[in-house]
Amino acid sequence: MLDNLTNRLARVMKSLKGEARLTEANIGDALREVRMALLEADVALPVVKDFIAAVKEKAVGEEVIGSLSPGQALIGVVHAELTKIMGDAHEGINFNTQPPAIVLMAGLQGAGKTTTVGKLGKFLKENHKKKVLVVSCDVYRPAAIEQLKFVAGQAGVDFFPSSVGEKPEDIAAAAIDWAKRHYHDVVLVDTAGRLAVDEEMMAEIKRLHAAIKPIETLFVVDAMLGQDAVNTARSFNEALPLTGVVLTKLDGDARGGAALSVRHVTGKPIKFAGVGEKLTGLEAFHPERMASRILGMGDVLSLIEEARKGLDEEKAVAFAKKLKAGKGFDLNDFKEQMAQMRSMGGLSALMDKMPAQIAQAAGQLPAGAENKMIGRVEGIINSMTPAERAKPELIKASRKRRIAMGAGVQVQDVNRLLNQFEQTQKMMKQFSKGGMGKLMRGMKGMIPGMR
């Protein structure tokens, strides 16, 4: 995501090479490009104007220090400002109240409120050890209540039943009463999607807000939203005392300009980002990381976090022990690695977070090919006997033929796999001897853009 903005900035910055100091004259063109790029990225115009003004003020007179190029100096300023607009650091949910902490969700139709309720419920239950109750006040859309019930079941949180004949305030009041008597820590209140211009519906959610006095009122907003995000956010912010924003569908290829607009207009922190359809797809929103991503510096921190989540810690420890004990890296381990890679969402999910240079080089691979490849490798290894997996040097011509038949591939594919395995094994040996530094040096030639 956000590639195009990155590329455009990169192109603009090239024209700035060889200047000693940023002046109004030499960044004028660049700033116009930045403005256009931001507009194309769906950042709302008033926000763009403020942003450009702030960057200009900061950038003019900035000395180009040391080994920095003027372009890098300007990117530095742009990055700092982007981070500032999106809020400085991550903020979580406020539980500072007498339980239950009530969280009200509001937003347009199709923003992803119900899914977010499910994700947030699971998140609070697993990461904060809270007892969560969810309730739907959407008495309009067909089957909205069933949807929440189902999602709550998947997330493993309690669901308070409601029916379409009831009034939203009554439903919420009954749910809160129930939560108090059953010692729930958090009540998540889902509401119907509404347009900011629909006065009747806005009055309804105002009444609901007044009746339940939530400690958090979260505005759920689609990351793909266009210029109108600014109007919608303003109307909701005026009608309701919002305390935070949840940005959804961030895994799409929208450039996410809405994140900047909404934050700028409401002044409220973006607390979470929704990615993917699974209920685990809720991340804490980190403004500085988003800014890095926009600028193509890669979201390496998120990547590390994700890797940690995807890895099975026990297996990793066992693996490390095995290596330390000097035992060889065999095909079982190789297969394990492949499986872990897949559980992290495959190569494409990783590439999203890599710096633009690397991602671009990798982007030349045909889409989806790597998943097929991993499947094939697993198939080949599965066709081997345990003895062969533990001692790959056993595998000679006739065994190769048998394995190829079993996996439904050509003998060449088996050879290719064995070669790949040997390389990885070599790398692992280095790793166990010389540690990470040596390994990285060994990889220098393999990854483009690394120095």
């Binding site: 199709g110 923003a111 067909p142 089957a143 689609d222 266009g226 210029q227 569908k249 895994d251 450039r255």
Partner: protein
């Protein structure tokens, strides 16, 4: 078969002259009310546009400042860079050629340029060519697919067609129930399965429609983002499976777009077109403050006929797109 014979003259006419609403009778009768609703739906858009336009045009001559402001205006309506520059070029050319110097003339010129851009997208859907006529509906999460299907079912029923719905969204919780509720309200059969493969559900639905002599099959699918490659692969498979039972099908592949979405709408059209060969668009949620300007960007960069637009929550608020009404409503 009979309905096919009955409808064909009227539909033939509307085919020949896009923009002339010479369709079946119910559309004609509902015309004034519909126009009003479109105007009301776009009232917010107009307030925003109209107000700004007036202040811009009141200056009365075409200079750089005016063009700069128009550029801003078009950009804030989600028109996108490319379409904005094109419209401004047209406007400049017209101003030079016709020596425009009054605000009214400039407004008319912009209106003409917009209309010329959007007119090719106005192509009515002709559902009488096959029976059953299979319409596959796709889109990103939360675009309004299932709601649009409900409205479409009502629309086709109003034209005297029999409709069958296929609950192909087997992924999202309660999507099936949502469609079934729509079906119950409007007396339409919904083919659904307990769980399982979307392609299989739709295959079943088409077989059922054949057996029952139904005119139109509306096939729902789960929402998906174009970056989720495995899901795009899945929807391509749904299309292939439809072709197994209906070699010429799906006769129409509609992509549902939310008018609130910005430039990403373009990426959506391109990605879905690549996977399932989109033949028409449905633009929903135009009743908010969103301007739907992205339509102009689509018209320029990956033109697909806009079959329907949705301007309200009522069941009959989804109607065929008319470029003239759309532009008129913006400028009124």
């Amino acid at each position: 078969m009979f309905s096919f014979l009955k409808k064909s003259p009227a539909d033939g006419k509307s085919d020949a002259k896009p923009g002339v609403p010479a369709d079946a009778a119910p559309v004609e009768a509902a015309k004034p009310g519909w126009r009003e609703r479109l105007f009301k739906g776009l009232a917010k858009t107009r307030a925003q546009w109209g107000g700004k336009l007036k202040s811009i045009f009141s200056r009365g001559k075409v200079d750089d400042e005016l063009l700069e402001e128009l550029e801003t205006l078009l950009l804030t309506s989600d028109c996108g860079m490319e379409a904005t520059l094109h419209l401004l070029d047209e406007l400049k050319k017209a101003a030079k050629r016709d020596k425009l110097d009054t605000p009214e003339a400039i407004q008319q010129a912009l209106r003409d340029a917009l209309l010329a851009t959007l007119q090719p997208l106005e192509q009515r859907l002709d559902v009488s060519t096959h029976q059953p006529y299979v319409i596959m509906i796709a889109g990103v999460n939360g675009a309004g697919k299932t709601t649009s299907i409900g409205k479409l079912a009502k629309y086709f029923q109003g034209q005297g067609k029999s409709v069958l719905l296929a609950a192909g969204d087997t992924f999202r919780a309660a999507a099936r129930e949502q469609l079934q509720t729509w079906g119950e309200r409007n007396n339409v059969t919904v083919i659904a399965q307990e769980s399982g493969d979307p392609a299989a559900v739709i295959y079943d639905a088409i077989a059922a429609a054949r057996a029952r002599g139904i005119d139109i099959v509306l096939a729902d699918t789960a929402g998906r983002l174009p970056t989720q490659l495995h899901l795009m692969e899945e929807i391509a498979k749904v299309r292939r499976v439809i072709q197994k039972i209906e070699p010429e099908g799906p006769h129409e592949t509609l992509l549902v777009l939310d008018a609130n979405i910005g430039q990403n709408a373009l990426a959506q059209v391109k990605a879905f077109d690549k996977a399932i060969n989109v033949t028409g668009l449905v633009l929903t949620k135009l009743d908010g403050t969103a301007k739907g300007g992205v339509v102009t960007a689509i018209a320029r960069q990956c033109p697909k006929p806009i079959r329907f637009i949705g301007v309200g929550e009522q069941i009959d608020d989804l109607r065929p797109f008319s470029a003239k009404d759309f532009v008129d409503a913006l400028f009124e």
